[in-house]
Symmetry: C2
Subunit: 434 residues, 2 copies
């Protein structure tokens, strides 16, 4: 089997056989296939796509390239949630305790901020003392005791994906549905979960700008799950404006905490309930989806999910008091108000610009090695569809250093569209796949 022939056949739109996909992934992981052949192959995949069979085999090969988490000692159905990444997306901190409070085992494995979106691990680490590098014994113990843990991906999980991702990042081959799907699914399935709920974001603040692409991504991931005997469901949700009001690490922890106390934004609460309900349903803790929704709502209203989060924060070394007393979280020292240039309706808030501006003042990172500032970020005062007066506050920037504040403020100002016409209401949950 010559690698150049496989590249050529993929280039010419042919379907590769399972053992050919294996040859590529295993050869590349071992170092037998050089980067320059793999990058040409990845670009050929970008243009020619992959069949369901190919993408499933690719996922399986990446999954098998490293260790997998063995949760067989933990009783119960294990379900995780994964979001393709948005701005202000703090659903994990709400959804995971909601599902765990209902008895679902949630081994939540997350990543860090990259590009204009935030990272769950970074947000959690704004809680003083919180640590995400649990040993496998600690994971097992905590799941048995609390039904929930928040952990990072170890180097040993799907190393083929890690190596491929690093190559895609520098060869303009990130934005490919089969490559995104297999990357996500190989890591998620390496966690040893039985089922998975996906939140596929679409809109200006998401990687997928068009609903048709988001649908294809969702269908591809659900298809991979089906071929690998895992239950996978995907919601396609709107990411044209940030989710909730808070953007930034500690700020998002605060808003998640409020939401778990039933005092959160309507959109964030609604999406969290829906995602949690699907986890509860797939986790066999409710016979119907309707029942699962009621269960999730109950755990939100009665505070049991909030208590669950506090227990887990404590178990992972964090100061759970910080979830009540926000002054214990890192706090910004400077504030800048952005006001509306005129009266009218907010017709759009460009989520990507808001995310980029927030990262510009320190909330995120451009490169893996960059440090982040947990205290800083943006709090919106209004959302799309609301009426504003000339001069009224649209949002506030919270910062600790003056650098880039001007630039970020300009970007945020441009992110708001104000016009005389009230915009049509936009659905938050657009489609369900799987």
């Amino acid at each position: 089997m010559r690698t150049v022939d496989l590249i050529q056949r993929k280039r010419d739109g042919e379907e590769l056989a399972p053992e050919e996909i294996e040859h590529l992934v295993e050869g590349y992981t071992r170092g037998d296939i050089p980067d320059y052949q793999m990058s040409a192959f990845l670009m050929a995949v970008f243009f020619s796509g992959m069949s369901d069979r190919e993408v499933s085999r690719l996922t399986e090969c990446m999954l098998r390239s490293g260790e997998t988490v063995n949760l067989s000692n933990v009783a119960g159905v294990k379900v995780d949630k994964h979001s393709t990444g948005g701005v202000g997306d703090k659903t994990s901190f709400i959804v995971a305790p909601l599902a765990a409070a209902a008895g679902v085992i949630v081994p939540m494995m997350s990543g860090r901020s990259l590009g204009h979106t935030g990272g769950t691990l970074d947000k959690l680490e704004s809680i003083p003392g919180f640590r995400t590098n649990l040993t496998s014994e600690e994971v097992e113990k905590q799941l048995s005791q609390h039904g929930l843990c928040f952990i990072g991906q170890t180097e040993k999980l799907a190393p083929a994906d890690r190596k491929l991702y690093a190559l895609r990042d520098v060869t303009a081959t990130v934005e490919s549905i089969p490559l995104i799907s297999s990357s996500i699914m190989s890591k998620k399935l390496a966690e040893g979960v039985d089922a998975l709920v996906l939140d596929v974001k679409v809109g200006s603040g998401a990687f997928m700008k068009k609903q048709v692409d988001a649908r294809r991504l969702a269908q591809t991931m659900v298809g991979i799950g089906r071929r690998m005997d895992k239950k996978v469901q995907a919601l396609i949700t709107d990411m044209n404006q940030p989710l909730g009001y808070a953007i930034g690490n500690a700020l998002e922890i605060m808003e998640a905490s409020q939401t778990l106390q039933n005092a959160g934004p309507a959109d964030l609460t609604k999406l969290s309930i829906e995602l949690a309900a699907r986890m509860i349903h797939l986790g066999k803790k409710a016979a119907t989806l309707e029942e699962a929704r009621r269960t999730a709502e109950k755990h939100l209203v009665d505070g049991s999910a909030y208590r669950k989060l506090k227990q887990v924060v404590t178990a992972q070394g964090g100061n759970a008091q910080a979830l009540d007393k926000f002054e214990l979280l890192p706090n910004a020292t400077g504030m800048r108000e952005i006001t509306s240039p005129r009266g009218g309706y907010v017709t759009s808030i460009d989520a990507e610009d808001i995310g980029t501006a927030s990262n510009m003042i320190g909330a995120g990172r451009d490169k893996k090695e960059d440090p982040i500032d947990p205290a800083v970020g943006i709090i919106l005062e209004v959302k799309t569809g609301e009426k504003v007066d000339a001069g009224s506050v649209l949002c506030r920037l919270y910062y600790t250093k003056e650098d880039h504040v001007e630039e970020a403020a300009d970007m945020v100002e441009d992110a708001f569209r104000i016009s005389a016409q009230k915009p049509d209401e936009r659905e938050l949950i657009l489609e369900v796949v799987g």
Copy 2:
């Protein structure tokens, strides 16, 4: 300027600016841009193509990456001919002396066999003593004295092309019209010629299987010439069957010699006259193309081109007697006849199969390092359109080692299509571009 952004923009179908193309070629040649980014870029070019402006800049950058031949001390208009490669294509040995006999200066720079096609240098080296590695002083002297030399490309000419070609070869990015065009033209323009005649082959024995692709290739190369102030004309010619009757190094030298003595095959003679006429016309040795054709014919009939070839062979250390006394050329020791399984008309002779079979018995090479056997090859007894009886000889294989003879014989047998219906006559010269 980030290389990954340039890859992405090409991937998304955008046109790159001249300085961006420069960044890529110069960065890659210097070693600042790694192979894995360049191969992703090349695959993006394969799918997205290049504008005329891009391909001209690419050619110019590759041309400027190394030395160029300075022929300003040689008086006269310098014209070369280049063929995109076919089976049995020995026109160089006929065309070059025809043009030189008419007073055109012909610095003919050629390559070696690769894949199923032969190489001009390999064929020349079957003449005992002939050497192609002339110094630049020798080239200058010989051009001034005889108006013709046959030389190989030095390592110093267009090193960017050499490096890019090696990468394309292993990443399935060879078959791209802008990449093929810039590769050919950068080397040809580095030779210091004033004008160039291209023979773009199309058909089963050519790299271009379809006339529409051959036309695009021809147009692209003519366009590059125009933007760089060189006169370039291209003929698109049929390569569905081998050109002439002989395939193999010494065998082709013999047939070229016969053709220069006005005793060659009709198709080879016709194409050679046409190519030479265009060189004579572009070389300003005839006022009209019609006059140039008459000049070429005259030099064929009166033997002056044949004498020119002999002088040049002698000048380059070769035994010119071998062009009369073929027993002085390397001779095969074994012969195998392929006969027709039935009576009828020869409707096609697959040129690629004939070329591959000839190389299988030693006439060509798969890898650059492979040795070749100058004596071996195939001589056709019939060509497309001719009538044959059952059992009559279709062609003869000449070999020196038994290895692969069976396999090659089977392949050659399959290359002939014999049927009851007389096929339509096919044009040899299909189009003129430029």
